[in-house]
């Protein structure tokens, strides 16, 4: 199972060819830092990062 991060929105996709959040096909194996957003509306971190969908994200890609 490969975890691929989207270069555009940093969402971590499992074995996918396109990103589930933004639809981009620019996915990479090279990502660092990990964040799980459970409630993007209430989370201060999600607001800072501009994340609108819950899920797993990388902090830095590439």
């Amino acid at each position: 199972m490969t975890e691929l991060a989207c270069r555009k929105c940093k969402y971590i996709n499992m074995d996918a060819t396109i990103c589930r959040v933004c639809g981009s096909s620019e996915l990479t194996k090279e990502w660092y830092g990990y964040i799980v957003i459970v409630d993007p509306e209430k989370s201060q971190i999600a607001q800072k990062l501009g994340v609108k969908y819950p899920g797993k994200y990388a902090l830095r890609v590439g």
Binding site: Y34, V38, S43, K48
Partner: protein, 151 residues
């Protein structure tokens, strides 16, 4: 209003803990909003929660959790994790680095050139008899000595 707490975990199990906590949060509908596992903080995760009670319920029974750090963390303290600098920005020419992955793993080298745009550095291995420049990803090295030597 969110509050931030640091949780101590077994080293290299930060993501496992974050995933298990997420499951518990969803199952019991707890007031935990996000779980952060920065690369720089080995053995710790930062949990954004409504309060201590929600956090304690979320970590209850989760393996690899070693405890909760006393006190709270402020948002300002974790803000820099959210916009991490590129690894190459922190490395300068002349630094001594240890290569931590790839065929040269464990080798010490001196930085000869830094390419911030590509996040790559060119190094010369210290052990090599003939100096051969090797280009590696800046994330694949660890800084050993920050003394900037004459290049």
């Amino acid at each position: 209003m969110s509050r931030f707490f640091a949780v101590k975990t077994t080293a290299n199990q930060e993501r496992v803990v974050a995933n298990l906590m997420e499951m518990a949060v969803k199952k019991y509908q707890l007031g935990v909003y996000s779980i952060l596992a920065p690369k720089e903080m080995k053995g710790y995760i930062i949990v954004e929660a409504e309060g201590m009670e929600d956090l304690l319920r979320a970590i209850k029974g989760v393996p690899h959790v070693k405890g909760v750090v006393r006190g709270e963390v402020t948002f300002q303290e974790i803000e820099h994790f959210l916009t991490p600098k590129k690894a190459a920005e922190q490395i300068k020419e002349g630094y001594t680095v240890e290569i931590v992955s790839g065929p040269f793993r464990g080798e010490l080298a001196i930085v000869k050139r830094v390419d911030e745009a590509k996040n790559e550095i060119t190094v010369e291995l210290m052990e090599a008899v003939v100096p051969i420049p090797v280009t590696v990803k800046a994330d694949h090295v660890r800084i050993i000595d920050k003394k900037e030597e004459e290049v």
